[in-house]
Amino acid sequence: MAKLIEYEKSAEAEKWISDEGAEQEERYNKIVKEMDDLSEERDVWVEKFFGRIQTRGFNVHYDNRRQIPDEELPKRPDRPFKVVF
């Protein structure tokens, strides 16, 4: 199956990839910062999520739900809460 037909990349193409790659790196760093800035709000969302899965239930499969008891709720580990990797 030919998903890619071998060819020689032009100098323009190499430059395009390099320029766009540099821009993407900036974009990635901006996203990481924006997601760090969202941390406090995210913590509230997590608390509300825990509330919902204890009352309405956790979606196991389609409309099957299970109420999660207190003792099953995870404890926050002692490390930064990263969402972008």
Binding site: I5, S18, I31, E41, N59, Y62, R65
Partner: protein, 301 residues
Amino acid sequence: MGRPHIEPYVETQVPFRRMTLPGFGKGMHYKVLSMDSDTGACSLVVKFESGYSLPPGMSYTEMELYVAEGSLQFGDKTFETGHYLWLPAGVSMPAMSAPNGARCLMFYNHGEPSFVESDADHPRAERHKLVSVNALEDIVWGPANVSPSVAPGCFVKVLKFDPLTHGFTFLYCMTASFWQDNISYHDCMEEGYHIWGTSWMMQFGYLPTGGYFWRPPWINHGAFQSTYGCIAIGRTDSQLHNYFHFNPWTTPEENQERAAAQLYRQKRNLYEWIRAQDGHNHPHDFEHPHYHEEVRHPDHD
């Protein structure tokens, strides 16, 4: 380094840039959503100016196209809004034009955007695999047919399905008031672009029209919610399996371990055989003996 985790990214406030790569001519503008900086494989939002045209030609890499707004003319065929095209590498398309302009999503899967003028297919082209369909009019919404499944209210239209990897391209929609209270991750990459509407994920917040993500495997996303609904295009590079849980703080490495543990429980014979103690197994597929060459995962090669 492949493609980084781009999530969330909203392209609507970012200006278009003129396409300068050889072959595309004047009147094509683009924004990069994500790109593999080794190969140039990329996902783009593209604007074709009114009157843009190209002669018959082909791309060196397979390419996917979705017409988000306006229409395109290929020879005597019109691709209206909602049209999806999967173009295998080297397949020649007739002369193309955008008489009234168009806005598209274009996915160059294994190399940078390329266009070579040609009115004949490349000898290695696999024309029989071409997919061309109006996704809005010619395919019906169905439930997401995976187990464990997303919550009721999320529907899917499969646009292209790879029988070797089970990777697929699809439209998905969340109906108004959609809620899914779990956290998901996958063992494949997942990509999505919001054509219309807003959804919310607990990690990343609100993703509006023009919102985009390229998410490598093992990364937590969800819970999920949409107040007024949304419609999006999505892609995976292999079978999409939902690993659901409710621990928001797990790492990709922990998620990967957990997925392997699930494989041990759910497909134990296969797991034991693959996990050969005396070295790596090299599974032979009697149907597809050359599958290692045929299957290229953008994130793994």
